[in-house]
């Protein structure tokens, strides 16, 4: 009964979305006030119905209802309950339900937190989002119903893919989808602005926090995915340039560009057309990512061609969304007009260059991801584009962008002078150069790659400090405030920027040092054997049988010695998941601030010994730490009081009195 109720709730949600799209869009363009009044409550109803449907699916998973096809294919009675919960979005059908849940959640959030928006603008925005929602609800109901029954019911389920049975995988998809779907908000803002013709600085101020928060979620989602790949796939890599990863990285790159160009549109009124175009591109790339991951086209274009239902639906939807928005853009954008003028040397120019670089980077990823698919689909041969291409392209494109990260924030709007910038930044530059050339010697050998990476990281950090210092100096000159009060009075959005930029520096340190100084050893080990890596000696002390809830396996006991003294023990495992008969390597990782020690069991050999892989990965956790700082910066920026002020001013008088 529960799945049918859930199914019904999702059907109702589709009907609500249709009504909402119709009344909101027609009402807003014709100016019917009572039609527009539909949009806000219907967003809440949509969110309620979808959450209800989602809960029904979760209940089916938690109660092991194997008469539901989705549960039978992706869960098992032996599966621990947190993974049964995660299994409800581990499958194709479930993840689409999660997608629409997120979309309706974002719609409800827009309805709730946009009190300052004029009524017709809000209706347009929610109407556009409802159109997107119609597409996805129909896709869900027509091609991928998660509530389908299985007759006769299965005795037990086929289990969740063991790779997904992991805490990181429980939260990775929701975070990633929050980001993907979050870009639909700024997309809807852009479309609404094009329709209404009101593309001004207020528009940019409304859209900015939504973009930033979606971007922060996407950052966390990608970082979690990378972290998961690092410890769960068992081979210690943190990024593989796999098409699935690229699918999430392209919207991230464009979203980053979008955040920065929205800044210019808000502060200076420039880049308006470009910002709108970026908003459309970013969301289109999110849809493209969904298409790539969900159509099966990556697994094999041939599988896609033989079972085209799902793929063709999303492809059609993608073409419709991109086509319609670009036509609207071509029609309306010329009327938008240009913004404030700016000089060759100015913050606008720096941000423009940053935008160009980020978009070129995204385009190069797009090329490397789609070209092999096109060739294959056209029957022109099979090729693959591996990490060497992406590495060769990415470093030269991102390096100037990172160099600009030091200059942009410190230069003035409209017109900046080169001598002035040079005077401010010369010490930061000199110190970065000197430290970056010396530091590698203290770490185990000089190399250009390491030195250059450290240079960029130091430069970003020091330029950020100079920036903070100049701001504080100006403030104390202005009204004689003390250092402390100045620090407190700087806006959160400013700290958000510093924090996110510092995150990039931390990330670069991680990437550079792990790339430059990582040590890897594959060795054959029997009981009592040792292997030495860096300052650590690892001894295999025991191999024991292992019995888990839904797997069996072997666990090794590795004793870590430093200078002959035992300091730690680590327990890498090799598991065999019984239902799917799938082997899994569970690496043992000793995480540290400056290094990770990583041990994984390879294969057993006929004489009872094992092939063991050990890694010493310096500063690898800085990669994810940096991503976390970037996301934290986004959250800080959104918490800025001017956004709260804007909503307080516009809310009704009695609410203002209660809140003050």
């Amino acid at each position: 009964m529960v799945p049918e109720i859930g199914h019904f709730a999702v059907i109702l949600a589709l009907c609500v979305a249709m009504a909402q799209a119709f009344f909101s869009l027609v009402g807003a363009t014709r100016g019917y006030v009572n039609w527009m009044a539909v949009s806000r409550p219907s967003a809440y109803i949509l969110f309620f119905l979808t959450s209800f449907g989602f809960c029904c699916l979760v209940i089916s998973f938690l109660t092991n209802d194997f008469s539901v096809l989705n549960v039978a294919s992706n869960s098992n009675s032996q599966l621990p309950w947190p993974y049964r919960l995660a299994a409800s979005w581990g499958s194709h059908e479930g993840s689409l339900l999660l997608w629409v849940l997120m979309l309706s959640g974002w719609m409800a959030a827009v309805a709730r937190f946009s009190k300052g928006l004029p009524n017709d603008m809000l209706s347009l925005i929610l109407g556009v989002m409802a159109l997107v929602a119609i597409g996805f609800y129909s896709f869900l109901l027509l091609t991928s119903n998660p509530f389908d029954r299985l007759l006769p019911p299965a005795m037990d389920g086929r289990d969740l893919n063991p790779l997904l049975q992991d805490p990181g995988m429980v939260i990775h998809p929701p975070m990633l989808y929050m980001g993907y779907v979050g870009f639909s908000v700024v997309f809807a803002f852009a479309i609404a602005a094009l329709i209404s013709g009101r593309l001004d600085t207020t528009w940019a101020r409304w859209s900015r926090p939504w973009t930033t928060i979606a971007w922060a979620f996407l950052t966390i989602g990608i970082a979690l995915g990378s972290w998961w790949a690092y410890y769960e796939l068992g081979w210690g890599g943190w990024w593989f340039w796999d098409p699935v990863e690229n699918a999430s990285f392209m919207p991230w790159l464009c979203g980053t560009a979008l955040m920065h160009s929205l800044l210019v549109t808000e502060k200076r009124g420039s880049f308006k057309v470009w910002t709108v175009l970026l908003a459309i591109i970013t969301f289109s790339l999110s849809l493209l990512g969904t298409f790539l991951v969900r159509s099966g086209v990556l697994t094999s274009v041939h599988a896609f061609a033989t079972d085209p239902e799902r793929g063709v639906f999303i492809l059609g939807f993608l073409v419709f969304v991109v086509g319609a928005s670009l036509i609207l853009f071509a029609w309306r954008a010329p009327k938008v007009g240009l913004g404030g003028r700016f000089d060759l040397v100015s913050r606008e120019s720096a941000l423009l260059a940053n935008n160009v670089l980020l978009v070129v980077a995204a385009a190069s990823v797009l090329l490397g991801t789609l070209y092999p698919l096109f060739l294959d689909a056209l029957g022109l041969g099979k090729i693959s584009v591996g990490p060497p291409y992406f590495d060769a392209v990415f470093i030269p494109i991102m390096a100037p962008a990172m160099f600009l990260m030091g200059i942009g924030p410190i230069s003035r709007w409209k017109k900046s002078s080169v001598p002035d910038l040079a005077a401010k930044l010369k010490w930061a530059f000199v110190i970065s150069i000197i430290s970056a050339s010396i530091l590698p010697f203290t770490m185990g050998g000089w190399s250009l790659f390491v030195s250059f990476g450290l240079l960029l990281a130091l430069w970003i950090t020091l330029a950020g400090l100079v920036n903070l210092w100049t701001r504080l100096e100006q403030m104390s000159k202005g009204d004689g405030r003390t250092l402390w009060t100045s620090l407190l009075s700087l806006p959160n959005s400013y700290y958000g920027m510093l924090c996110a930029h510092l995150g990039v520096a931390v990330f670069v340190v991680g990437v550079t040092l792990v790339g430059g100084y990582e040590v890897e050893k594959d060795v054959k080990m029997s009981l009592g054997n040792t292997v030495t890596i860096g300052d650590y000696t690892i001894r295999l002390d025991a191999l024991e049988e292992l019995e888990g809830p839904n797997y069996t396996g072997v666990e090794g006991t590795m004793t870590i010695l430093v200078d002959g003294e035992e300091v730690d023990q680590m327990f890498p495992q090799k598991r065999l998941y019984t239902v799917q008969q799938m082997a899994m390597t569970e690496a043992a990782i000793d995480t540290g601030f400056t290094r990770d020690l990583y041990i994984s069991l390879g294969e057993p050999l006929s004489d009872g010994s094992w092939v063991v892989r050990v890694y010493l990965k310096p500063f690898v956790d800085w990669i994810w730490g940096g991503a976390f700082l970037m996301a934290l910066g986004g959250v800080l920026a959104v918490s800025d009081r001017r956004y709260r002020k804007a909503s307080e001013v516009s809310s009704s008088p009695e609410e203002v009195t209660t809140s003050t």
Partner: protein, 147 residues
């Protein structure tokens, strides 16, 4: 300089950067493509010398051998018509099995041995690596034609 000229310079500089970036990306792209060949094509000598490429197919039954050091393995990849001997140093993926699909990336050496620096097996129970499936499909076609 008039503001109009400055703006023009900005646009030109941006376009030049974009052009430079595009040229560079395409150059890197062309030199880093990895092509795919089936064992039959390898046997027929259609593969590039000294350049990395990919092969795919099934791991031939009973072909897996291990060197003394325990970490160097040899096996043969077959598309049911021809077999290519492969050598790999490192740890094979969890789902690597004789008689199952596999994809290897590497170069062919003087003795005709394919020295792999990367071995990929399928990601989960439900599908074969696409290249492995492709190799078998092409071999099937050749067999049908010759019959």
């Amino acid at each position: 300089m008039k503001p109009r000229h400055k703006r023009l310079i900005l646009v030109v500089v941006a376009l030049a950067l974009l052009g430079l970036g595009a040229t560079f990306v395409l150059k890197a792209f062309r030199s880093n493509l990895v092509f795919f060949y089936t064992p039959t094509e390898v046997f027929a000598g259609q593969v590039p010398q000294g350049q990395a490429f990919r092969i795919g197919g099934m791991v031939l039954e009973d072909s897996l051998q291990r060197n003394e050091d325990g970490v160097t393995v040899r096996f043969a990849v077959t598309d049911t018509i021809e077999d290519v001997p492969v050598q790999f140093t490192g740890i094979l993926p969890d789902l690597f099995q004789e008689g199952k699909g596999v994809v290897a990336q590497g170069r062919i050496n003087m003795e005709g041995m394919f020295v792999a620096d990367q071995v990929l097996a399928k990601h989960d129970e439900n599908y074969m690596p696409p290249e492995a499936a492709e190799a078998l499909e092409r071999a099937m076609k050749i067999k049908m034609e010759t019959e």
